[in-house]
Amino acid sequence: MPRVVVDVVLKPEISDPQGQAVLGALGRLGHRGVTGVRQGKHFVLDVEGTPDEAELREIAENLLANPVIEDVELHLEAVRPPTPSQG
């Protein structure tokens, strides 16, 4: 069954307290190499049959995200080979 990944991120001009908190923690833990963190939401949708791109975009932009403060990235799973962690 096809999978669709939707990443929802705050618009760049919107402040991201969560990302800031993570960045601060990384600094205190000595990971100085990381200079910026933004935190968003990650949705994995199982879609029956052939996903209708327009409908998915509608879902992503108006349901999964709040267009007033968030942007969305739509990925058909295939496009992004993950590096699964052995943990």
Binding site: L10, E13, I14, S15, P17, N66, V68, I69
Partner: protein, 768 residues
């Protein structure tokens, strides 16, 4: 954005002086032609882009009160109250509550933002009012919220309500402020215009009171808290002074995202800073951000102020000078600090991970000067920005439909008392509110003595002496629609009564006036009448108005909301251990009704629910009776003569009996005299029901206080049984049936909490 293109070639004062004919987008910024001309008059040249930005936000309705000022002045004419330490005009008023304690409290609206983005709009509303309280030098100790939504079953209410409630809770809970009460009411008129009014109360010692004042030449101006970003740019003039319409980017509201964690650190840092006496003046950054803070601080002080704007820490490096001045980024404060104390000030901020930056200093002279990379972009007399905004004498007249509305008296008799009873207590306005209140932390800080569902919130402020305060918020808009002058006073009377029911002595008043467009003469009349009524009511009760807030333009198209003056009353408990709670805990106690009942149904919950009717006149006001009742309730509490008390208001006796019985599952057998509909559903003022195991003593005290008292019956059993004088049973309601009717309404509409799947509040940050 037109400002930005102008901005890119920095518009300095010199440049402005040299280019008098330069076109400026003042209309897009919400300024009228004559206002723009006045600015040119004041400056003797055209304003720079940065100056134009400052004037436009500070002269907006929200910041300048240009439509309401002439009316609000009457609050200032009230007789000086002994208790009032700081009056209107500061961030919040301060009252003396004894033992050297001072209390500051204020209610503020965040209506339009909560419609656009319910979670963040409501959350930042709480954040803003908390900073106002903190600014006075107080530790915030509690919050309350007064909410209005469109019809409960309207689709948009399902979008707005869950987000607003999660936002109020998400922010307040994360700050560690107990939510001790509020209101939530529904009416079609709020569809598209939800109201989110948040109250915060803070406590300090008299000597700790701080003012927003820039004193002392050479003292440093320190900006601390969050970085400055593009949040809510133009939000003040747009969100708060224009109704929604799709024309023009300048009118597109922008949303601010709250960071309660940063605000919590800001609170702790400020309290440490106050304790170490490190500031000579302090101001929160709310609407109009730095424009407001710098001009208000400078205007209140004796000298001037100079700011190096490029030193402001930014979150978004692309912001222009004008945008930095207008930004409404949350969780920021501005302090005036003596040079010798700057180091210690910065150290305290560092300890709390709060970013703090010296951005300027207090100067002699009387100008507010702002430089951008060494170039002067603002050179203005601060008072002209902060206080000399336009003042309108808006025309007003009595609504054309009011006579007809008042003549349209409601039906007087109930065809089915039992059905009406269940309908009233099961209506969205009358039903159990725990669906909302369970989302609020009422325990944090460990000083909450009473909170929802009690009539008033009560907080202990001294763990040794047990001194405490009580607060209630009330805003019946049906009454105000029928008669704004009386309606405002009825709301005052209800809040006053709620505070008194807890056993507290009422002391001071705050308010948030939510109305439609002041450009509509009929709305302006409603506003003027409500203010006049509130002032007269406070005069009669001998209470000062310590502050408040005005929210106008709450209307869709040309349909305004019902006038909604939300009134907050603060009371004092010399010893909170004597507070009186709601709810019947034991069987065998006598139920007594204090006060007098008349067949008054105008604007009542019963008329609205049973007949969908709004018309006639609101109940007759009787402030003398309210005072007598309050005095009696205080005596009964102090002498420990009552085991419970509940005021009568929306829904009348039926509502009060329902809540008292269901609280601990104790029924009662009661008898009412006279017209049954009036006895159960009339909303006559100055009434309360109490229970006592010593009814004779209550009678004696009531007679001494000149308060009519009627014995209704006895608590006990698992039903509410009400008979007529003749003994015939009028209504018999098993508590189980009553509980179902009362509790299921909001869960049915917004999801049963026990369901695994709930609503997802948009924009919600994780909470725990």
């Amino acid at each position: 954005m037109s400002e930005r293109t102008v901005e890119h070639s920095i518009d300095t004062v010199e440049n402005a002086a040299g280019t008098p004919d330069e076109e400026q987008p003042f209309r897009e910024l919400g300024l009228r032609d004559e206002e723009y001309l006045r600015i040119r008059d004041i400056l003797g040249r055209r304003p720079t882009t940065a100056e134009l930005a400052m004037y436009s936000v500070m002269w907006s309705e929200h910041c300048s009160y240009k439509s309401s000022k002439v009316h609000l002045r009457t609050f200032g004419d009230l007789p000086r109250s002994e208790a009032l330490l700081v009056g209107m005009g500061e961030n919040a008023g301060v009252v003396d509550v004894g033992e050297g304690y001072a209390v500051t409290f204020k209610v503020e609206s965040h209506n339009h933002p909560s419609y656009v983005e319910p979670y963040q709009g409501a959350a930042t509303g709480v954040g803003g009012i908390v900073r106002d309280i903190l600014t006075m030098g107080a530790r915030p100790v509690a919050v309350m919220d007064s909410l209005r939504f469109g019809r409960a079953d309207a689709p948009d209410t399902a979008r707005v309500l869950p987000g607003v409630v999660a936002g109020v809770g998400g922010y307040g809970n994360c700050l560690g402020l107990p939510n001790i009460g509020g209101e939530v009411l529904f009416d079609d008129c709020y569809a598209g215009n939800p109201l989110v009014n948040a109250l915060c109360v803070g406590v300090m010692k008299h000597s700790d009171v701080r003012l927003a004042k820039a004193e002392g030449v050479g003292n440093k101006v320190v900006l601390f808290g969050a970085r400055t970003g593009g949040d809510g740019i133009g939000g003040v003039s747009v969100l708060a002074s224009e109704t929604f319409d799709e024309h023009g980017p300048a009118k597109r509201p922008s949303v601010q995202v709250g960071d309660p964690f940063t605000e919590k650190l800001l609170i702790e840092a400020c309290l440490e800073i106050f304790a170490a006496d490190l500031v000579t003046g302090i101001q929160d950054l709310g609407g109009a951000g730095l424009s407001c803070a710098t001009s208000e601080l400078a205007a209140a002080g004796s000298g001037g102020m100079r700011i190096d704007l490029e030193t402001v820490p930014l979150r978004d490096s692309t912001l222009t000078a004008a945008e930095i001045l207008m930004s409404e980024s949350q969780e920021r404060m501005c302090a005036i600090v003596e040079p010798t104390k700057v180091e210690e000030f910065l150290a305290v901020c560092a300890r709390w991970d709060v970013l703090a930056t010296v951005i300027g200093e207090v100067t002699d002279g009387d100008r507010l000067l702002i430089d951008w990379h060494g170039e002067r972009i603002v050179d203005v007399p601060p008072r002209t920005v902060a206080h000399d905004g336009p003042v309108y004498e808006r025309p007003y007249h009595r609504p054309a439909d009011l006579d007809e509305l008042q003549a349209d008296a409601p039906p007087a008799g109930s065809a089915d008392l039992r059905a009406d009873w269940l309908a009233v207590v099961g209506s969205p306005d009358g039903c159990d509110k725990s669906w909302l209140t369970e989302q609020y932390d009422r325990y944090v800080q460990g000083n909450t003595v009473l909170a929802q569902p009690d009539d008033a919130g009560v907080v202990r402020i001294d763990e040794t002496s047990n001194r405490g305060i009580a607060l209630a918020l009330d805003g019946n808009a049906r009454f105000a629609r029928l008669d704004p002058y009386t309606g405002a006073q009825l709301n005052l009377a209800e809040a006053y009564r709620n505070v008194a029911v807890s056993g507290a002595v009422p002391l001071a008043v705050t308010n948030c006036l939510n109305f439609g467009s002041p450009e509509e003469p009929e709305v302006m009349w409603q506003f003027a009448e409500a203010v006049r009524g509130l002032a007269d009511g406070c005069r009669a009760l001998g209470l000062p108005v310590t502050g408040g807030n005005v929210s106008l333009y709450n209307q869709t198209g040309d349909v305004p909301i019902n006038p909604t003056p939300v009134i907050g009353v603060l009371g004092v408990h010399a010893d909170v251990r004597t507070r009186v709670r709601g709810g019947w805990r034991a069987a065998g106690e006598t139920v007594l009704l204090l006060g007098e009942t008349r067949p008054e149904f105008g604007g009542s919950a019963w008329a609205a629910v049973a007949h969908g009717h709004l018309g006639g006149l609101p109940p007759q006001l009787d402030l003398a009776a309210e005072q007598a009742l309050a005095g009696l309730l205080a005596t009964l509490a102090a002498d420990g003569l009552v085991t419970s008390a509940h005021d009568l208001s929306d829904g009348g006796l039926a509502q009060a009996l329902t809540e008292s019985a269901l609280r601990y599952g104790t029924g009662a057998t009661l008898r009412v005299d006279g017209d049954a509909t009036a006895a159960l559903f009339a909303e006559s003022v100055a009434r309360a029901v109490v229970t006592s195991s010593d009814p004779a003593a209550v009678r004696a005290a009531a007679e001494a206080a000149g308060v009519p008292v009627t014995e209704l019956g006895t608590t006990g059993g698992d039903a509410l049984v009400v008979s007529s004088a003749g003994g015939g049973v009028l209504v018999e309601l098993p508590l189980a049936e009553l509980r179902t009717a009362w509790t299921r309404t909001l869960p049915d509409l917004f999801g049963h909490p026990e369901d695994v799947v709930g609503a997802v509040p948009t924009g919600a940050v994780p909470t725990s």
